[in-house]
């Protein structure tokens, strides 16, 4: 029998048992849809991570004391209390460095305006804005003079401004951070969310102010550096590390952790890629379960149609003809399920993006792959029932009640 005839026969027999065929396909539909949706969510997450990290600047180096643990986090042990403001001056002269800023964090409650707000104060220098490629909407950044004198001035983010000074100009306002009175001199441009963090929930203070007046330490948490270009990042990384090791007695290369933004990005996307693969694999299992459902129904169908098989054999159907008939039926079933699953996933991805606000990227490649895989499922799980049909003895099949 020709393939067109076989497909026609298969469709007829599928349509004859609409409900049963649909229920059988459901396994494939759910399997295919969940694979595509899972991959879409994973791709969406990766894309977001990449965009957000890129937004932070690609030619940025972050220096911390303490080595990197195997899991990719920073070991915060005693080695942490190493970096000081002196290191900033030592590193500043290295070639290729455009801007360098210490970061010293202290949490505190900021009180003023119409209320108070729990936030993290970041002690930095004016270079911080260069490194983060950040601009002010209003007011000014603190100066070297403010740094030298540990000036009680602050630059705040949009969220802080909105919380404390809704519809009020915050520039020039006096607030308290902890017990320290501070004057607001600048307002940062809105940045939005980044990896779940509100970037605008920020208060910048001169680094010296945070160290001396808030946390009372002479050590800084980290150093941020921006380089002239991305290409020289490895060179700068090496030079920074060598300088730090040379200037701190009893340290070696493992005592410092100099990471570029692209390394962070790679690590983050790798994690999310692993997650995506895992989710897709789990979804793939449901495809296999769907395949078993098809096999089950095909076995029932072969038994039900034993007489039909006998009649076909009596009029000259070869073993191969019967095999192909049932194989094609199971392929049509699973590919139809696959197509419906793709349609369902398109709807789901649309709903997630536009209604639920979850980033999901539709990958045409996964569509082809899931369709191919559902076809494979049809062949794989249809083969045994089809062979069973083809191997029937014509007489026994004809006599079957």
């Amino acid at each position: 029998m020709r393939t067109s005839g076989l497909i026609k026969t298969a469709c007829k027999s599928i349509l004859r048992n609409r409900v049963r065929s649909f229920l059988t396909m459901l396994g494939i539909i759910i399997g295919v849809a969940s694979v595509i949706v899972m991959v879409a969510i994973g791709e969406g997450a990766q894309l977001q991570i990449r965009q957000q990290i890129e937004a932070m600047g690609t030619n940025v180096l972050t220096v911390r004391a303490g080595s990197m643990s195997a899991r990719g986090g920073v070991r915060t042990n005693v080695a942490r209390r190493i970096l000081t403001l002196q290191d900033i001056e030592r590193l500043r002269v290295l070639p290729g460095i455009v801007a360098i800023s210490p970061v010293s964090r202290a949490s505190g409650r900021i009180v003023g305006g119409i209320g108070n707000w729990q936030t993290t104060a970041m002690g930095v220098t004016d270079d911080f804005l260069v490194i983060r490629d950040w601009e002010l909407d209003d007011g000014v950044m603190f100066t070297d003079q403010d740094i030298r004198s540990a000036g009680k001035v602050a630059v705040i983010g949009k969220t802080v401004a909105d919380e404390l000074f809704p519809n009020i100009d915050p520039i020039g306002a006096s607030v308290r951070i902890g017990t320290m009175p501070v004057r607001i001199i600048g307002l940062l441009r809105e940045r939005g969310q980044n990896m779940g963090d509100d970037q605008d929930d920020i208060v910048l203070l001169p680094v010296t102010t945070v160290m001396q007046r808030m946390s009372g330490t002479r050590f800084i948490d980290q150093i941020m550096i921006s380089t002239e270009t991305m290409d020289i990042i490895p060179d700068v990384q090496g030079a920074v590390l060598a300088t730090l090791v040379a200037s701190h007695r009893g340290t070696n290369e493992d005592s410092f952790n100099v990471r570029s933004q692209s390394e962070i990005m790679e690590r983050a996307t790798e994690t999310s890629r692993t997650m995506t693969a895992l989710l897709a694999a789990i979804a793939g299992v449901s495809l296999v379960v769907g395949g078993i459902g098809i096999m089950n129904i095909m076995l029932v169908s072969v038994t039900e149609r034993t007489r039909e098989i006998g009649i076909r054999m009596a009029v000259g159907a070869r073993e191969r003809d019967i095999l192909m008939q049932f194989l094609i039926e199971s392929i049509v079933l699973s590919v139809m399920g696959g197509v419906i699953g793709v349609a369902l996933s398109v709807v789901l991805i649309y709903v997630m993006n536009d209604v639920a606000g979850i980033a999901a990227v539709f990958e045409p490649a996964t569509v082809l792959m899931s369709l191919a895989f559902s076809g494979f499922v049809g062949v794989f799980f249809g083969f045994y029932p089809a062979r069973k049909a083809a191997r029937l003895n014509p007489i026994q099949a004809l006599r079957f009640e």
Binding site: I311, A314, G316, R318, D321
Partner: protein
């Protein structure tokens, strides 16, 4: 006359657990082209078993079966299928049409399994149905047809590939006398057009349509003589 069927010492034994049934115990028959043979015998005498062997549906345990000059015993399933397709047309007692499939499609079926010959299936199936007088029932499903009409569809299906041999196992077993006579008339017409016909029946009136009568008992042929009209 050319020999179409030659059975020599055909033995067929069924084994069901400990019970051994000797369905055919050494059958010898020669049937020439153009003959019209009726086979009679008590229930269980082996008539259907012999028909299944002749029809290439079942292989004997031993013996020789020449069909159209070729030895069938020992052929593989694929060659047997092709023989059924091109050399033999079957008509069974219980109509054996595909359910929920139109008369036309039922008749088309053997052509779909015919290898290496392209033709207009629709037209050939319609012609075969017209030949058996069902030109107006092309799109009827089997359950919309009477028993006699269903059997005509089965005959149309049996002749559509133009095989030299028509095998009919109790084709009128489920029909009333009037309809039986009409169906038998079709067989006579086919025989007059050169088809060889072998037909199993329990009814002497049906056997009387044939030109030759074979009687069986306990897996053996006990008589084989021309029908005297």
């Amino acid at each position: 006359m050319k020999t179409l069927i030659k059975l020599t010492s055909i033995v067929k034994t069924y084994r069901m657990g400990d019970v051994i049934v000797n369905a055919l115990r050494g059958v010898d028959v020669v049937i020439n082209e153009g003959e019209f043979v009726a086979v009679m015998g008590a229930s269980g005498s082996g008539k259907s078993t012999m028909m299944n062997v002749i029809g290439c549906l079942d292989l004997p345990d031993s013996g020789s079966f020449m069909l159209d000059g070729k030895e069938v015993f020992g052929m593989n399933r694929r060659n047997l299928a092709d023989l059924r397709n091109t050399k033999i047309g079957f008509v069974f007692q219980n109509f054996s049409l595909l359910a929920r499939t139109t008369a036309l499609e039922n008749v088309e079926l053997p052509m779909h399994y015919r290898h290496g010959k392209k033709m207009d299936y629709r037209a050939a199936a319609r012609a075969a149905l017209e030949k058996v007088g069902l030109g107006e029932r092309l799109d009827h499903m089997p359950n919309q047809l009477s028993g006699g009409q269903q059997q005509r569809v089965a005959i149309a299906r049996a002749i559509v590939n133009d095989p030299p041999l028509i095998l009919a196992d109790e084709p009128t077993g489920a029909l009333d006398t009037q309809t039986s006579a009409e169906v038998m008339q079709l067989f006579i017409d086919l025989n007059n057009n050169g088809k060889t016909i072998v037909l199993v029946t329990h009814e002497p009136e049906i056997a009387a349509y044939a030109k030759r009568l074979i009687r069986m008992r306990d897996g053996l042929i006990i008589s084989d003589e021309p029908v005297v009209k």
